[in-house]
């Protein structure tokens, strides 16, 4: 498939636009067109498949499955289910309340809450498209590990008293689990895919465009000097920069790729990306409704530390 795409990009840029191959701008444009087309094909296929898989794991079912699960086994299952259970920041509150109400321990709920946004399918597609499957696999694995470890630590700290009181008093009705046909799943999955594509479309263009600019105009040595291996604080600084930023994974990964091309180590770059996607100010504001400030701070602190740790680990392992 890459060959077909390459010829398509060549056709569009060199033939239709009549730009000369080898010229700076033309090659950059060719690159841009190629990346954008590739990412959109991958996004369409993978989001659709993920949405189908997700329809088998609705949160209403997950919470029953996770109720009264112990530390470790519960955290591991929660982190894995977090990957496939549909989640957006706006549904974090009902999920959080619903899980605790049905007896899912706080630490296990946290593992789920971390893994769900940290491992997201758009980021996965972007990493797959721009870095290849090994980095994409590492991304999933590290997201799951971060979720398991953070959840276990929060569970051990016994922080239940820092959950807002009303959460434990809320009573949920019970819903009959639906049995869906494949047609119903596919229908919703396709609607979901179209919605996500529409949402990330501008971000992919902006991200790939900004990446191309960094490729072309930021000198290699400059970034490598301030954020390279020589700077032991590069990973925590990257995380500190990333936490308040709230951006779509679609916009972040192309920039991360450009940073890596300019000599920023992969661990540092991935740590930045994870901090951007997993922790954000809007998320903190929403979670404040169910968590007292203390728990919220501990939650952000532990996840940030876990990301820093994974960043160092990647930098040490991948050279």
């Amino acid at each position: 498939m890459p060959d077909v795409l390459k010829s398509l990009a060549d056709l569009m840029v060199y033939r239709w636009l009549g730009l000369r191959a080898g010229a700076h701008l033309a090659d950059a444009l060719n690159f841009f067109v190629y990346d954008v087309i590739k990412i959109f094909i991958l996004l369409t296929v993978i989001i659709f498949v993920v949405a189908i898989i997700r329809s088998f794991f609705p949160p209403e079912k997950t919470r029953r499955f996770l109720s009264r699960k112990r530390t470790w086994i519960g955290n591991i299952l929660a982190a894995l289910l977090g990957i496939v259970t549909p989640f957006c920041t706006c549904s974090a509150i009902p999920l959080f309340i619903g899980f605790l109400e049905s007896g899912v321990p706080l630490g296990v709920t946290m593992s789920f809450l971390v893994s769900s946004p940290t491992v997201n399918e758009v980021a996965l597609v972007m990493l797959l498209g721009l870095f290849g499957w090994r980095i994409a696999a590492l991304y999933i694995a590290s997201g799951v590990v971060i979720a398991i470890v953070s959840g276990i630590i929060i569970g051990r700290l016994r922080l239940e008293r820092y959950v807002e009181e009303y959460v434990y008093q809320t009573r949920l009705g019970s819903v009959e689990l639906e049995r869906l046909t494949f047609r119903q799943r596919a229908f919703d999955a396709w609607a979901y895919t179209k919605e996500i594509l529409k949402k990330v479309f501008p971000w992919v263009l902006i991200g790939v465009g900004a990446g191309a600019l960094i490729h072309g105009y930021v000198p290699v040595n400059w970034l490598a000097r301030i954020a390279g291996r020589g700077n032991p604080f590069a990973v925590p600084i990257a995380v500190l920069i990333g936490v308040p930023l709230y951006s779509n994974a679609a916009g972040t990964v192309p920039i991360v790729q450009a940073l890596v091309a300019k000599g920023v180590p992969i661990g540092t770059a991935l740590a930045l990306m994870m901090a951007v996607t997993a922790l954000s100010l809007p998320e903190a504001i929403i979670l404040r409704k169910v968590m007292k400030p203390r728990l919220l701070a501990i939650y952000f602190g532990i996840v940030a530390l876990a990301i820093v740790f994974v960043g160092y680990l990647f930098n040490a392992v991948i050279r």
């Binding site: 329809s55 609705p58 949160p59 209403e60 919470r63 549909p86 957006c88 706006c90 549904s91 509150i93 009902p94 999920l95 309340i97 619903g98 809320t170 009573r171 949920l172 009705g173 019970s174 819903v175 009959e176 639906e178 869906l180 047609r183 119903q184 799943r185 229908f187 919703d188 609607a191 979901y192 919605e195």
Partner: protein
Amino acid sequence: MTIKILGSGCTRCHETERRVVNALSRLGIAAEVCKVTDMKEIMSFGVLGTPAVVIDGKVKCYGRIPSAEDIEKWLKPEK
């Protein structure tokens, strides 16, 4: 007939509401359609993932956008 669309106001909830209203006018059924955005009320139905459709107090679907076919099936026995 009372139809409740549960959802915090995301695009998927709007799409669901549009489909329900369309199905009603197609079948010529009069029903009261209201949106429920209050989290407590949504959760009182046992629903965690939105959008969800509740007809006369019974949850018909949750966490997905129903197809026109689905909606018509729920509406028809009432005629």
